[in-house]
Symmetry: C2
Subunit: 414 residues, 2 copies
């Protein structure tokens, strides 16, 4: 084969081999060349060359031989230098910011959570995001200079290339904030912004309730409702970054009810404050249903909207309280209706229920199952989130690591 | 670079080059080597070798030089031998079977449509499918021996690898019929079975209303309702081959209405006869709405369920009849509700409305647009099907051609 026959040839192969050996050494570190040959299926010369490139790039190092016990001449052990770089995953929510710092092996080395006041919009919100990241880095004795990538998850619809938050009904003042510009002053590394639920599904696939799943829907169920979709193991964003917005589906009104007010164009944030589905079955609707059913007889009605109030209903249901059980059954029935519409469209293999309601536990899960099964044609596995409120930040870490890896593969010498 | 360094190297490149040149010569036939170099970006030796392989495989031939006018020494012209093989695309519907025969360039050289009687189930249905194919081939002076692939589209959920029709509420007796076994006695080529709407979307992308689209939803709207989904240019089937079954979505009942009877497990075909959405907005519901609105005062009520009756409503609406316009507005509003739920989940770039209702024309399309826009967050392009009742068969032809091409790339010598 002549080198000039195709411009794609040796270069592509070198990249493929480099990537395969990088993944193998990261997974099996420390490893010998023979281990890496077995893990990758590559020949000894190919592995040796890739290891040399990885060593030049500072990504692997030889393990000190005296640390190894061996008969005869010791084989050379190579370890992945996970500590050579770090990434930051950030979750910007309506009430809190979480920043997690991880090394290149994905080990979280520091994290920081900051509560955001109701009025924190615009510049103050931006400052909180920045401060949270800086404080998390400081806990790990790092600065922005050490960061190879930052990924920020926010609610709303995010434009893929610019990272601009186009619509964010959940956080007034977030849309069109210069998050990326602000964070670029913090680090020379790349900054990516992504819809939070699209990151949560990545987190659960990485180390949560559906490890390695190739066909997964993550439904965030809290005050708001939205879904992250994973197809062939990759996030599905839709043509305009707006896939999974099931919270806006209108599945309860009468057949010939008048059209709703337009979703887009109204409200202070450019999008309708609430979707029809989340209005009927979000945390607030649950609290109202529970109140109407007198499941809160001894509570202060002003506590109704706190997460504790909703948690109390599920606790009572788990203990067998008939009023609470009836409330749980009713909201599970409503939730199943909207979930079924989405599952009939997507037919995923696995469904994770996340967000605040994932803490409601097995009583709620069983009720959803009961109402869902008659409404769908196939049988996806239905589970609760493993990662809870860490899902978005962990997904952001995963996304940042993927970005770093893609850059390394494209420019191994950089 | 050593040949032993990676087993994937030269072989993969040879396949890539072979495929690139195959596509280029098919598209530009007849073409010169220089044209193919330009179309593929490959070097002259790479193109020349691929052309030699294609010639050995019988897929290209040199054009007779005397047919070309040229100053000086004529360049060699190569043409794609589209006539060397044929494929068959079949649409098995509840009332008809269509078979189309196409050459390897995708040119339809013969087609045959046969009406199926109400009672045609089991062996008789199978025989009709076979007869329709044989008759279509005979019109092109071909037999099953000449066929490189047959793809059959049927309603229902089709198991991907076995081609078994698992659930087919639309055609009683179709589920579990040995369609593949029957057709394997007709041709030595491969036989594939696929959901009809998944094929329709391929057809529209190939030569219909959304040529080349990478993000497309095709909604079949007739007696039944279902959708074909195309993501990154490829059909999305879901984890169990059941994606797009929006006809079963329950988007009209009251919030706390009791659950429906289970969709799966009932009825003679193992699945509920009708989905909630199609029951409210399928052709039959339209006829009933029109009847209730006295849009048919001068018609025989028994004609209500014929396609003509529904067509009459749309014709009257187009002419400005207020009663008919009100009916169209009402069904468009209902349809928009279910369509919105799907579009909020998928966020496609383009939406095609196909099936019988696609013939209703611009009056219906405008009414759908009006009811849909307030209900969604993004702005997909909404169009009517270009291919009408040919969409499934043409999509089956496209799928068969893709299958032939994939086999050629994997085994160029076969």
């Amino acid at each position: 084969m002549q080198p000039h026959e195709s411009a794609r040839g040796p270069h592509v192969l070198r990249q493929i081999n480099f990537g395969a050996v990088l993944r193998a050494v990261r997974e099996h570190s420390p490893a010998r060349v023979a281990d890496l040959m077995q893990a990758t299926g590559l020949s000894r010369p190919a592995v040796t060359r890739a290891v040399a490139e990885l060593r030049d790039a500072g990504l692997v190092a030889d393990v000190d031989e005296t640390a190894q016990v061996s008969m005869g001449r010791p084989a050379q052990w190579i370890r992945f230098r996970a500590e050579v770089g770090h990434v930051v995953g950030v979750d910007v929510g309506s009430h809190k910011v979480i920043a997690m710092v991880a090394d290149l092996a994905g080990r979280v080395v520091a994290s920081r959570q900051v509560t955001i006041g109701e009025g924190a919009t615009g510049a103050r919100l931006l400052q909180s995001v920045r401060d949270t990241i800086v404080e998390a880095l400081a806990k790990a004795d790092l600065t922005g200079e050490d960061v190879w990538a930052i990924v920020v998850g926010t609610p709303g619809i995010v434009e893929e290339t610019s990272g601009e938050v186009l619509l964010a009904p959940g956080i007034p003042g977030l849309a069109h904030l210069p998050v990326m510009d602000e964070l670029h002053t913090l680090t020379p590394g790349p900054v990516l912004i992504e819809n939070d639920i699209n990151l949560a599904v990545l987190g659960e696939r990485w180390c949560g309730a559906a490890v390695g799943s190739d066909s997964l829907v993550f439904v965030h169920w809290g005050v708001r409702i939205g879904a992250g979709i994973l197809i062939d193991g990759k996030p599905y964003r839709g043509a305009h970054g707006a896939a999974g917005e099931i919270g806006f589906a209108d599945v309860f009104s009468e057949p010939d009810a008048p059209d709703p007010l337009p979703l887009v164009g109204g409200g202070t944030s450019g999008v309708s404050e609430w979707g029809a589905f989340e209005r009927m079955v979000g945390t607030q609707a649950i609290a109202e249903l529970a109140d109407a059913a007198h499941a809160f007889t001894e509570r202060d009605p002003r506590a109704l909207l706190s997460p504790d109030a909703v948690a109390a209903v599920f606790a009572a249901a788990t203990e067998g309280d008939p009023t609470a059980l009836a409330v749980v059954d009713r909201i599970a029935g409503r939730f199943a209706r909207g979930l079924a519409a989405m599952l009939l469209v997507l037919d995923p293999r696995e469904v994770i229920i996340g967000g605040g309601l994932s803490r409601a536990g097995e009583t709620l899960l069983a009720a959803i199952e009961r109402h869902l099964r008659p409404r769908i044609l196939t049988s996806p596995r239905l589970v609760l989130s493993d990662l809870g409120s860490d899902a978005v930040a962990l997904g952001a870490v995963r996304r940042a690591l993927d970005h770093v890896e893609a850059r390394l593969l494209a420019h191994p010498d950089a």
